[in-house]
């Protein structure tokens, strides 16, 4: 266990010095936001075995709530983020309550349809700014004295949020609650017969995942100072699936790696290939599903175990 702690400690140190190593803080923050989003999504797909195709609804809605709260109501950023995460969790409660009535493939279709409904709602609702989005959200001052307009200050705030979210998910997964989730993933009927109220566990996992996805979406609004329909679009739901799949679902660090790869890829390619980005994303999907189902971290772990001859615990 100490080896693992050392590893995480090293990663945190790397993240702390990253802006001084010439990496652009805004890109790093974007990666962190999507990494948190993907980790929250992984809690559901990787550990509970539920494929939600509607997570963009939470991500996008939290963006709007945070933006509206900070810009129109003049809330301080930390309260705005909290409110947004709670709103996303509440939406998750409704979505989850409806969607867990069906399993497997239907669950995916239901979440997708509900998210699309929210998309149309955002398109028409007055406070979202429709096609233009919610612009010019001020970053404000954290706790009243830390100026977040400074990219470096904001970077450390975003990093703190990410570490909190990652830690919360890590703790959840390794708690007795998390073990029940994994039992549901492996064999739902057996978990039921052991006396667990499977639906309640699924719903709680869904709400947690929605809330943390919301936290990610709200943070993204704070970073980019706007919230748009793109964040609530089903493409976004698909992208977070891809990040998790590419990085390795059911691994702690996989979604972070996946988010890093996809965001960097989009950042590099956006100017060069234009609308062909979605072709590349689509091709990644096809390749991952056909040949790379364990993802980067999953494959690396398997390789490591084969070299050291260590058995999977």
């Amino acid at each position: 266990m100490t080896k693992r702690r050392l590893g995480y400690g090293l990663l945190i140190v790397l993240a702390l010095v990253a802006p001084y190593a010439g990496l652009y803080p805004v890109l790093l923050m974007k990666i962190l936001c999507f990494a948190l989003f993907a980790c929250a999504f992984n809690l559901l797909l990787g550990y509970t075995g539920l494929l939600s195709f509607g997570h963009a609804a939470f991500f996008g809605m939290a963006g709007y709530v945070a933006g509206h709260g900070i810009k129109v109501w003049g809330l301080p950023p930390e309260i705005g983020l909290l409110l947004a995460a709670l709103a996303a969790a509440a939406l998750g409660l409704v979505f989850g309550w409806l969607a867990i009535r069906r399993a497997g493939i239907y669950f995916a279709m239901i979440t997708l349809a509900l998210a699309q409904m929210m998309y149309f709602f955002f398109l028409q609702a007055p406070f979202t700014g429709g096609e233009d989005g919610l612009q010019d959200v001020p970053r404000g001052k954290l706790l009243g004295f830390i100026n977040l307009a400074d990219d470096l200050n904001l970077y450390y705030f975003v990093l703190a949020i990410f570490i909190f979210g990652f830690w919360a998910i890590y703790r959840t997964v390794h708690s007795p609650f998390g073990h029940v989730l994994k039992a549901i993933r492996e064999n739902e009927a057996r978990a039921t017969s052991l006396g667990y109220d499977v639906d309640r566990y699924k719903l709680l996992a869904f709400v947690l995942s929605a809330g943390l996805s919301g936290l990610a979406g709200a943070t993204k609004t704070l970073v980019f100072r706007f919230a748009t329909l793109t964040d609530a679009h089903w493409h976004q739901s698909g992208e977070v699936v891809l990040m998790t799949l590419l990085g390795g679902m059911g691994t702690s660090l996989g979604p972070v790696v996946g988010a890093g790869i996809i965001v960097t890829l989009q950042n590099e390619l956006a100017d060069k290939v234009g609308s062909l980005v979605s072709v590349i994303i689509g091709a990644c999907f096809v390749l991952c599903v056909l040949a790379f189902r364990r993802g980067v971290v999953g494959e690396a772990g398997a390789l490591y175990r084969r070299i050291t001859g260590e058995r999977r615990s």
């Binding site: 069906r102 493939i105 239907y106 994303i281």
Partner: protein, 296 residues
Amino acid sequence: MTEIFGVSTQALLGQLVLGLVNGSFYALLSLGLAVIFGMLNIINFAHGAFYMIGAVMTWMALNYFGISYWWSLALVPLVVGVVAVVIERALLQWLYKLDPLYGLLLTFGLALIFEGVFRNAYGVSGLPYSIPEQFSEPLNLGFMLLPKYRAWVILVSLVVCFATWFLIEKTRLGATLRAATENAKLTQAFGINVPLLVMLTYGFGIALAAFAGVLAAPTKQISPLMGSNLIIGVFAVVVIGGMGSILGAIVTGLALGVIEGLTRVFYPEASATVVFIIMALVLLVRPAGLFGKRES
């Protein structure tokens, strides 16, 4: 002009017909989804993309090769069906033993690829396609003017839907197909080439989607995005109807199209979301769907 609830009957009937047109597309697409799901155990996310390809190919056929609407109606589904068969052989057949979620993800990737390629080539603004001249005059029914093309879409969709139903429920081939859906291994043991059936089923389901695309070309904006906008509504239709019954898929598709049309008359703000709201309500009352069997 007579009015019902403050809405002129002309407008009401007009939206009703338009609703039936959309319902026909819902029915054709959800039918294909259900048939494919039955045999391949895959939810074909690319279904909307194939519908879009059907429409775009109709446009390309006319503008590049001078192939008329009528020829497209026969040729485009055939060509797209062949493409689908190639995709099934090259990609999908490796997924049958896995969790059906992987099929959804792979076809999602395919949908992104198709959408991106066509978006790159044609943009998103929409391509014009004029209604075939036989249908240019509206039909005067006395109480309303019925655009002939809309009537044609509804009619031909119904015929194709019921032909499909007949094929699957009443013929020997259909019986074999249903047997393979029920128990593929046992059916294969009886000497039936199940992989071939699976391949043809996928081709057929996709050809239905492409056929809907050809029908849509003269009435809808032909745009690379038209498929993805439709397919999510179709998913809701499938959840509402349940995929257990062919007739169920047809009836649910048409009914939801009509409901959507009526919503457009009485409460236009909700017309984009009404299908999803109904889906939520059905989930509350009958989680297995209106025509669905309880899944284990």
